[in-house]
Amino acid sequence: MASPAPESPTSVAKLRVPAELSQLALIFEFCIKFADAHQIGEDKRFALEVCLEEIVTNVMKYAYPPGTIGPVEISLTLEADTLQIQVLDEGAPFDPTSAPEVDTTLPLEQRPIGGLGLHMVRKMMDAVHYRREGERNLLTMISKVA
């Protein structure tokens, strides 16, 4: 008879804040606290902060009509060695993963200013998914932290 799978404790942390740039420090603090509490290494914590900043600032800039500030919700779920990072907003449908890949070999004069952040997310995370869920955008990133 097969023995039961070993227990894999899941740890979840959530943060819901107004989607504005002034909240960024609080979001980083939330990430650092979670990483420290779960012995996530410096490199992986750095990747978490960079990728989360990218997705969250996209929400801050584009999700809600100019002059209005809606919410952004961040969930961090650690199960065994897999960190799942979810970013939820209630703004207009927007799939950041649909942005075209940037060419990072172009010379300086031809480098576009945009598109870089998503390139970094794709390189630093193991997986990135977008889903429209009812009236909300749900962006999920997966990172192996062990």
Binding site: L21, S22, L24, A25, F28, E42, D43, F46, E49, V50, E53, E54, T57, M60, T104, T105, L106, P107, L108, E109, R111, I113, L116, G117, H119, M120, K123, M124
Partner: protein
């Protein structure tokens, strides 16, 4: 973010302290831009005090690099911590902005 400017051997040494993120990038780009407008032609950014760098920070660095090269000047980086070097590589910025392990080499490279 705190930014100190000091002349060293004919170049302006820029020493930022803190995080170069979406919140601080605009101020960082504006302050270095003002140095260039004020006549600075050779900039060396010493990253010893730089704790963090995101795509917003990279965009600011790209803007400053374009601006100083347009004015006929040079820019170099030094003393970046390993995670920041990795970010530069992922973004392909290591081929755009020369990066050196130590300040003396960066100053020598940036000098006219």
């Amino acid at each position: 973010m705190d930014i100190a400017f000091s002349p060293v051997d004919g170049v302006i040494l820029v020493s930022p302290t803190g995080r170069l993120d979406a919140h601080s990038a605009a101020d960082f780009e504006a302050r270095l831009g003002a140095e260039i407008d004020g006549g600075a032609k050779q900039l060396v950014i010493d990253g010893t005090g730089l704790e963090y760098l995101s795509s917003a920070g990279l965009r600011a660095l790209l803007g400053i690099t374009k601006k100083i090269r347009t004015s006929g000047g040079t820019i170099a980086l030094c003393h970046l911590q390993p995670q920041l070097v990795e970010i530069m590589e992922i973004a392909g910025f290591n081929s755009l902005i020369p990066t050196y392990p130590d300040q003396a080499a960066a100053v020598a490279a940036a000098k006219p």
